[in-house]
């Protein structure tokens, strides 16, 4: 056994300050996904600390765990002791390898759900943590694979961040990095510097980035944007509350409810600092928990959309013709007879159906919506039935056939969008290649009903199509031949009304609306659910066929359900079952377990 070098021979106790007195390292956890540069971020932070004379340590769990999975990087940093290592102490401080729940000073999350994970694991707590999170979402596989919308509520995740932070710095740091042509680790690092949670100057923070000149310029641009954002958020919220101003920017430091641990500006003087390394003092256990600074969530895309929709609804009431093209003024006028709450939606439908087929088709659309509106019990209110009908009828009437897809692929705004998305700069050429796979049905659907029906039965035709397309077709839309082919297809619109599919779809639409309206008088909510069943008609090929099967089952069930609103919930559940998997197994099981008839 090694002799007891630490022995003080004073039974009972160590003397001197400890954990609760602030003799503790700064603790920092980075929650990111493998491949996002969380390790680089942790290394930069360690470099800043070591350069300032602190003892710094970082750990992570690496390996296969890092392949795109949730990963935690952990850093501890301790400034040099004021009067040297205390008597009987180790020359090198003992730092921990694990973030301890309730004891993490700074949490950095690269994405909102990882931020939620930090909250769930107790790393971010309202008494202590400066929580820096990017507000963007990187969806988990779970959220992506649903047939409908499997995304979790981002508002809840943001609210959790608010509940669990002493100081919250939240912004879309992913976008900032993107705008700077850099990666998120750089912007998060800038946010850390700007948050003032660590007592180092901006120059000190920037030094490790500058050490690698190759990527420095872009990284520093991302760093700067995030620094400014974070510093702004902290100083806006921090006046008189718990935020500490960014070191080196001259912002006054004010620490709520604690007197002893103002962090000095700049780490260069770290040696002269008191031993209180932690950026803020926690409340004593059992004492009052300091109030979390509740930063309002920055305006989201969702908020902007809602505001725009409100404005549009207003215009739809006063000047509907301004929301459609010049050839649809008459149709726009017809919407005045519809419930006010539904007009904005219906005007979208008018434009959609007209572009799809023509003004007469838009009229047919309006006739259908008007039928539903007449049965809407809430015409003067929310008019949910009419609004949903306006949405779903338009979507169904504009089913995705080959002509429609060709039109979508050849529109000018599409090419502009593709170029922008690909970040094709000036002098760069962009080519677009479509991955098409026309099926026999899709071709015969387009043809005049009788010809289509005949060809669909023809084995020779089927084999020919299979031969030409079963490996798929890659079409260069930006070439003369490719574009011409699609542009010609898009112009085959006049053939559509005589096509096999058109006839079939119109019949199905009317049958669907008849059913909804038959139930509307006694069960308006059930009627609405029937309307919303159109949602399962999506996809192409096999996916569409499965959806079509499910739709048939749902309609059969709806027909059997008693016409009152109590049935609405049942149909809603059945629709959810139809969207639970690709092949309709859940729906069939659900129907087998609880038959609707009787």
């Amino acid at each position: 056994m090694t002799t007891t070098t630490l022995r003080t021979d004073v039974p009972g106790a160590r003397r001197g300050p400890g954990w609760r007195d602030g003799l503790r390292p700064v603790t920092l956890a980075v929650l990111a996904m493998g491949g996002e540069g969380g390790g680089v971020l942790a290394d930069w932070i360690v470099a800043v600390g070591e350069e300032a004379g602190w003892t710094a340590q970082t750990t992570s769990v690496a390996g296969v765990a890092q392949r795109t999975g949730a990963t935690v990087y952990y850093v501890e940093m301790l400034p040099p002791p004021a009067g040297g290592v205390p008597v009987g102490g180790r020359r090198e401080p003992v730092l921990s390898l694990f973030p301890t729940p309730g004891e993490v000073d700074i949490v950095i999350a690269s994405e909102l759900m990882e931020c939620g994970r930090a909250v769930q694991r107790g790393f971010a707590t309202p008494d202590r943590t400066t929580l820096i999170t990017s507000t963007n979402r990187v969806y988990s596989v779970d959220e992506k694979i649903g047939l409908g919308d499997g995304r979790v509520d981002a508002d809840e995740l943001f609210a959790a961040a608010q509940r669990a932070a002493r100081v919250l710095v939240a912004a879309d740091f992913a976008r900032m990095a993107d705008d700077a042509g850099s990666v998120i680790s750089a912007s998060l690092y800038g946010a850390l510097a700007g948050s003032g949670a660590l007592p180092f100057t901006r120059e000190q923070f920037e030094a490790p980035i500058r050490a690698f000149p190759k990527a420095a310029e872009k990284s520093l641009r991302a760093f700067a944007a995030a620094y400014t954002e974070a510093a702004g958020q902290v100083s806006a919220d921090g006046a008189g509350t718990a935020g500490t101003g960014p070191a080196g920017t001259g912002t006054a430091t004010a620490t709520a409810g604690t007197a002893s641990s103002a962090t000095g500006p700049g780490g260069a003087e770290a040696g002269e600092e008191p031993v209180t390394a932690a950026p803020a003092r926690p409340a004593a256990p059992g004492g009052p928990v300091p109030v979390t600074i509740g930063r309002r969530r920055p305006e989201t895309e969702e908020d902007r959309k809602r505001a725009a929709e409100r404005e549009r609804t207003r215009i739809a009431a006063s000047d509907p013709a301004s929301l459609v093209g010049p050839a649809l003024t008459a149709q726009a006028g017809r919407t005045a007879l519809l419930p006010a709450a539904a007009r904005s939606t219906v005007l979208h439908g008018v434009v959609r159906t007209a572009v799809y087929q023509g003004p007469e088709y838009a009229d047919r659309y309006l006739d259908r919506v008007a039928r539903v509106a007449a049965a809407d019990p809430d015409r003067d209110g929310d008019a949910a039935l009419t609004r949903e009908a306006g949405r779903h009828i338009a979507l169904w009437m504009c089913y995705q056939d080959t002509i429609q897809v060709a039109l979508q692929k050849t529109r000018r705004h599409r090419m502009a969008r593709v170029r922008e998305e690909a970040k094709a700069g000036e002098g760069h050429l962009a080519q677009v290649r479509e991955f098409l796979h026309p099926q026999v049905e899709e071709l015969t659907d387009m043809m005049p009903a009788r010809l289509g029906a005949w060809l669909l039965r023809s084995r020779v035709f089927g084999r020919l199509v299979h031969l030409l397309t079963h490996r798929g077709l890659v079409l260069n839309t930006t070439s003369v031949t490719g574009f011409t082919a699609l542009a010609v297809l898009a112009r085959m619109r006049p053939l559509r009304p005589r096509s096999l599919r058109f006839v079939r779809e119109q019949e199905a639409i009317d049958a669907w609306l008849d059913l909804a309206l038959a139930k509307a008088a006694d069960g308006p909510r059930l009627a609405r659910e029937i309307i919303e069943c159109q949602r399962v008609l999506k996809g192409y090929g096999a996916t569409y066929a499965h959806g079509d099967d499910s739709f048939g089952l749902l309609m059969a069930a709806a027909r059997e359900l008693p016409a009152h609103d109590g049935s609405a919930r049942r149909l809603e559940a059945l629709r959810a079952a139809a969207l639970a998997d690709e092949d309709g197994a859940t729906l069939r099981e659900e129907l087998a377990n609880r038959p609707v008839a009787g």
Binding site: T2, R20, G34, T68, V94, M113, G349, V418, A422, G472
Partner: protein, 721 residues
């Protein structure tokens, strides 16, 4: 070549005496080996010790200066067998691998080595992959030390302590003629810290010297009667020698003895966690000045009975912190105390979790319970993690709605060439029906998760084929499918799987995923790698190997991204009448490694003004109906969902992120699965040639012309933005 370049680290390996070495734990070990006069090093890569192998692989110059032999072993068994060089010769040798999986593989050689004993120091550095982030079964390396009688070092997670353990480990091995295992936990391997370096030492006897002066001693060979002698020697000679050395050198440490009549015994690797817990309870500080006596076992096997009894002599109760199960140490200490008639109460797993990683939370809770019972005055603080979850001040107080939290397990990277293999198999199964799928170890194991849900069992590295061997019947109407990576194939799969299947006339389909690297462990080269490796022999095709061993039906696919072709091949392999194993070698380069190469090349080309084509995929949001079928057969991180820009639609549409590398799986899947016409590929041509520009001008002109009618018509109905 490995995923990372270690050029900077190699400089550190040359650091001389008195300089401060700053870096990762595993690099510190590498430096310590050179400081200890090691003569040869081998090992098999795997987290968390991959970097040790990678650094040495890049450091051949440093090694040749010192005449140190380094080998990338074919397996952990190979690595362990290497240590045979130290049986008769005074050569210091070290091998490294992931544990316990690697130790499992190595245990045959290790048992033989430990039986005969060693002359030169033999060090086995095991990266203990236990707890959070572990990718393997949760077991302890401790059992191997006990069963073969090898000493087990578990140093404090501190670079200086780890470096000291390497040096002491060699000496301990030599004085007791016993191999020594140095256990490094996952986080210690990736621990950043500093230590004071010493000069590197050229081995006094080099490998060359040993070859030229062969030695043998029949008593060291594991064959009766020597093997009976070995067992006796272990007990009567080697054990007492080891104990004497451990005591004399003070490898175990005692802190704060005499300060109280209770104490804590801790595995060295848990010391930092324990000190943090004591700090939070008010019983220590960052400089380790504890008020509770501690006995730190930097050597966890053998237990030094006298030290335990000495430590417990003045204590009424002690707590043992021992991570993992079974509780070998606790049982051992109970025996030691009872035999000596000690009245000291021993606590351990009664106050601490029986299983799982000893995190800060677990240790703090256990230590608090212990101290509050036996030394309440030592506890002056109450960290918030001790509060009940119902207390609003608890860090575990519910602050986020549980349903909002979804798991995010690791998965295949963007552009991974293995993704289309599983897409193709999923599509093939639509035609052939489901199969039993035996998985292996490697990135391809991620296919067991969403969205593929392929793979029923995994029996170990390279054992994918063997794992399907029992499910072989002439009467069955379908065959089983086995997976194996190129890493596992060369590790043992060629013989344990392919050879076995040939010999036993197994009807299985074996898919060998050949991505040109041992990719999951960090992109190391293997026999079939395509890279031109200056110090290793590569480019040995897998198909040639399987044909050489007797496989008749074998196909190599050189582009896994062609999903339709691969699907058709799967269907053929699953339906062919050809007897015996069917082997498909699915070959495409690991994207993680490819990008490292390609990015650099592209930057250089752009800089030089050469024509560069950048590819990425996209989804037309108007054409996408939001059914996400594409995602369900892909799971690519770059293929995700976004708000539907269509005001009439609500379900999110698929979208492709900027991280897309243009691998082509989206398009190939759209074709193979007949998905939808929404996918397109954008080729951005930078530094276009004159021909490019001319062609583009003609096309742009024509497109403007051909679209005019469509746009004019639309303008009558749409509001111009």
């Amino acid at each position: 070549m490995a995923e990372r370049s270690f050029a900077a680290e190699i400089g550190k390996l040359r650091q001389g005496a008195g300089t401060t070495f700053s870096g990762e734990g595993i690099l510190a070990v590498t430096k310590a080996l050179l400081q200890s006069g090691v003569a040869y090093v081998g090992g098999y890569q795997g987290a968390p010790i991959s970097h040790l192998m990678d650094v040495l692989g890049d450091a051949h110059e440093v090694l040749s200066e010192l005449d140190v032999y380094f080998e990338n072993s074919a397996s952990e068994a190979t690595a362990a067998a290497m240590l045979a060089a130290s049986v008769h010769q005074p050569l210091r040798g070290a091998v490294t691998f992931k544990s316990t999986v690697g130790t499992n593989v190595a245990s045959d050689a290790l048992a033989n080595l430990a039986s005969g004993g060693v002359t030169g120091g033999a060090l086995i550095i095991v990266g203990e992959d236990y707890g959070e982030g572990s990718s393997i079964m949760q077991e302890r390396s401790h059992a191997f030390a006990m069963k073969s009688q090898m000493w087990l070092l578990d140093p404090r997670p501190n670079l200086e302590a780890i470096v000291d353990a390497v040096e002491a480990g060699f000496e301990l091995s030599e004085v007791s003629n016993t191999p020594v295992m140095l256990q490094l936990r996952l986080r210690s391997c990736h621990l950043h810290g500093t230590f004071t370096a010493k000069d590197n030492v050229r081995p006094p006897t080099t490998v060359k010297d040993a070859i030229e002066n062969p030695r043998r001693d029949i008593d060291r060979v594991v064959l009766p009667p020597a093997s009976f002698l070995h067992e006796r020697e272990k007990h009567e000679h080697r054990w007492p020698q080891a104990v004497r050395f451990i005591k004399e050198r003070g490898l175990n440490e005692v802190f704060g003895n005499g300060l109280a009549d209770v104490g804590i015994i801790v595995q060295g690797g848990l010391y930092n966690t324990l000190n943090r817990s004591l700090e939070m309870l008010g019983a220590s500080d960052p400089y380790g000045r504890t008020t509770v006596p501690l006995y730190v076992m930097n050597v966890t096997y053998p237990v030094v009975d006298e030290e335990i009894l000495d430590f417990c002599a003045d204590k009424k109760a002690v707590l043992l912190l021992e991570e993992g199960q079974p509780d070998y140490l606790e049982q051992n200490l109970h025996a030691v105390l009872r035999r000596a008639g000690s009245t000291t109460a021993l606590h351990g797993k009664d106050l601490l979790p029986a299983v799982g990683e000893y995190t800060s939370t677990a240790v703090t809770k256990g230590v608090a319970r212990f101290l509050r019972t036996h030394l309440p005055e030592a506890v002056t603080e109450e960290p918030s993690l001790l509060l009940a979850e119902s207390d609003p001040a608890s860090p575990f107080a519910p602050r986020v709605a549980a349903p909002a939290m979804r798991p995010r397990p690791p998965g295949l990277c963007t552009g991974c060439p293995e993704r289309p293999i599983f897409s193709a198999l999923k599509l093939a199964e639509r035609e052939t029906g489901p199969h039993h799928i035996s998985a292996d170890i490697g990135c391809h194991l991620f296919a067991v998760n969403e969205p593929f849900n392929l793979g029923a069992t995994t029996m170990g590295y390279g054992l994918g084929s063997a794992g399907a061997s029992a499910l072989n019947s002439k009467d069955a109407d379908r065959r089983t499918v086995a997976f194996m990576g190129d890493g596992g194939f060369w590790h043992n799969g060629l013989t344990s799987g392919v050879g076995n299947a040939v010999f036993n006339e197994n009807d299985q389909l074996l898919v060998v995923v050949d991505n040109a690297y041992s990719a999951a462990t960090g992109g190391q080269d293997v026999l079939s790698s395509q890279a031109d490796n200056p110090i290793r022999s590569t480019r040995h095709p897998i198909e040639r190997a399987v044909r050489g061993i007797g496989v008749r039906w074998s196909r190599t696919v050189t582009d896994t991204y062609k999903v339709s072709a691969l699907r058709d091949l799967f269907v053929r392999a699953l339906t062919t009448k050809e007897p015996g194993p069917k082997v498909i070698v699915a070959q495409s380069e690991c994207q993680l490694n490819r990008q490292r190469r390609v990015k650099k090349q592209r930057a250089a080309d752009l800089g030089a003004g050469r024509r560069v084509v950048r590819e990425r995929f996209g989804v037309d949001p108007e054409t996408c109906t939001g059914d996400h079928a594409c995602i369900r057969i892909s799971g690519c991180p770059s293929l995700t969902i976004t708000d539907n820009p269509d005001p009439l639609r609500t379900d999110p549409v698929a979208t492709v992120l900027d991280s897309c590398v243009g691998c082509g799986v989206c398009g190939a899947n759209a074709h193979a699965a007949v998905l939808c016409p929404s996918f397109y590929r954008t080729d951005v041509v930078q530094n276009p040639t004159r021909r490019d520009r001319f062609l583009a001008a003609v096309r742009t002109r024509w497109i403007a012309l051909a679209s005019r009618g469509l746009e004019t018509r639309a303008a009558r109905y749409e509001v111009t933005a």
